[in-house]
Amino acid sequence: MSTTYPPRTVDELDRAAERAFRLPAAAVLGSVAVLLLVGMVSVTQGAAGLPVEGVVRSLLDALPGVHLHQTLTDQQQAVLWQIRLPRTVLGALVGGSLAMAGAGYQGVFRNPLADPYLLGVSAGAGLGAVLALGFGLDLSWGPVDALPAAAFLGALVAVTASVVVARGSFRDPATLLLAGVAMAALFSATQTYAIQKLDESRSREVLSWLFGRLATNGWHPVVLLLPYVALAGVVLLLHARHLDVLRLGDDEARSLGLHPARSRLVVVAAATLLTASAVSVSGLIAFVGLVTPHVVRLLVGHSYRALVPLSALVGAAFLAFVDIGARTLAAPAELPVGVITAFVGAPFFCIVLWRGRYGA
């Protein structure tokens, strides 16, 4: 066919091809800017406010090759570096992990209702936490404390059990989902039973963990979390293209040369690792993993190659933002951050659904 086309059309075609599956730079810059802004507010706000200028000087001074005159007092420096900054970074890491895992699960199960707790992560982690906090189960190992270790292992055990019940088949997502529902019910019931056996003060402690609470012991949890987030995050990012192919359904994906079961296994493993490690240092934070990918879809469309990285950025900013409220709204007491994510996230999501822009 030697038909000639007007150049305008060809330009449009080439531009559309360039844009295909690309991560929009504006959205990345925008969400990075929001994340930095939220981070700045987060480190300056708290029981004692820190001056913005002094904080900026102190932060920039930490960069290699930059030396600035410091205006913060030693005590303020300590608050910034030992309390606020690690807490903010932890919030961002946890939020980013949950949101990214949520996007991964939604892609793998081709289901907008999928969230990171789907295959029993929450129930498994919860049971682990109950056993560690309430019954003194000590799985601490090396630098890992008893609580995160138990929650992490509990999450992995529950997901593994779901996979085993589904006969290890990643071919049939529906069976895997149902196995996850069954396992979650079983672990939740065990957890509820165990909590009833506890005395009041211990059960309060367990419940406050279950509602989601970012760990407060400085850089320790950040350091624990970072290797998992880095590893699983990279794996998820590299598999975003697989999720785009999976949107055609397993049969078509397979005829195009993808191995849906293998891709699903890798993505579920990475997303589970992200979720389990996040949960181990933060408890069960609701809603971030479910809602963030949907909000990002409204901004940049449905391509997972844009969705996965942007969900990480937006989820990070969202949780860091919500955590400001958790620390300050009822100061000196701390509100469970998981409750606030739901308080903020649910109405926002309702507005989005009400306006009917979703799925357009």
Partner: protein, 284 residues
């Protein structure tokens, strides 16, 4: 566009292909040789195994027996591309993105599309007259447009054999012809081999070099359309008496009234038929 060329004789050999769903045999030992560059029409009633055969060729259903490329080896997604009967059109995906997914088998396990892959996609779109559609969401396309886009994706796969599962079942007559003519044109230009499961026997006869008639999972006949579309055979396989007419040089298969007697003859022209009908009336 460069398509790898195969040995001139055979594109694909199917030997004793068997498929069973839950113990029920759906394909009962199909032997078939596909010649390079031919259009093979797969016909047969619903449930005779047309789709299953196509799906077994690309490995979507577990099968026993052999599927081998002309030059040897099991076919993969760079050898065969399948156009499904009702393709999934994901919300929010643009036409060019959809076509780019056809490049999946050409990318590594983790790699992104290269500039060359984008080039292939834009070339295919331009060639099919879809250039101005590139940025549109696939969900907003009409049936005919969508079918062209699915063909574009199959072409972007750059495999020498194109498998079509009822490519025109959802289209009106004008768009049916448009899509089939397009496939035929591409076949001649690129030396593609086409296997198409088709419902309409006349259309199948018109576009196919050979027809393969499936009857409950077995091949009842393979050969030139005029040989396969034999009234007795088609009537038996479809479970209803049919008449085969010739109209403007093309075969037309029409159902006969239940009561009508049909004599096993070679296809005859419509004029002869009319004469025959008149004779019948005279007799009655």
């Amino acid at each position: 566009m460069s398509i790898p060329t195969l040995t001139p004789s055979s594109a694909l050999r199917v030997h004793d292909l068997r498929v069973a769903y839950d113990g029920t045999e759906v394909l009962r030992g199909v032997d078939l040789e596909l010649r390079t560059g031919e259009w093979l029409g797969l016909i047969g009633p619903n449930g005779s195994g047309k789709s299953t055969l196509l799906r077994a060729l690309v490995g979507l259903v577990p099968s026993a027996g052999g599927v081998e490329l002309g030059q040897g080896g099991r076919p993969g997604p760079t050898d065969l591309s399948l156009m499904p009967q009702s393709p999934e059109l994901p919300p929010g995906m643009t036409v060019v993105e959809y076509v780019l997914l056809g490049r999946t088998a050409h990318l590594g396990w983790l790699r992104q599309e290269s500039a060359a892959d984008r080039r292939v996609a834009t070339d295919v779109l331009r060639r099919l007259g879809l250039a101005s559609f590139a940025g549109r969401p696939v969900l907003q396309l009409s049936g005919g447009e969508a079918q062209r886009v699915v063909i574009a994706r199959a072409l972007a796969q750059q495999s020498p054999v194109l498998l079509l599962d009822e490519p025109t079942s959802a289209l009106d007559v004008g768009h049916q012809v448009e899509v089939l003519e397009l496939v035929d044109e591409l076949r001649h230009e690129d030396g593609l081999t086409v296997v198409a499961a088709m419902h309409d026997l006349g259309t199948a006869a018109r576009y196919s070099d050979r027809l393969a008639l499936l009857d409950r999972g077995s091949l009842a006949a393979v050969g030139a359309p005029r040989e396969v579309l034999e009234e007795d055979l088609v009537s038996r396989v479809y479970g209803h008496p049919v008449r085969v007419h010739e109209l403007d040089g093309h075969l037309v298969v029409v159902p006969a009234p239940r009561a009508a007697r049909h004599t096993p003859t070679a296809p005859v022209s419509l004029a002869d038929r009319r004469q025959g009908a008149q004779t019948d009336q005279e007799v009655s």
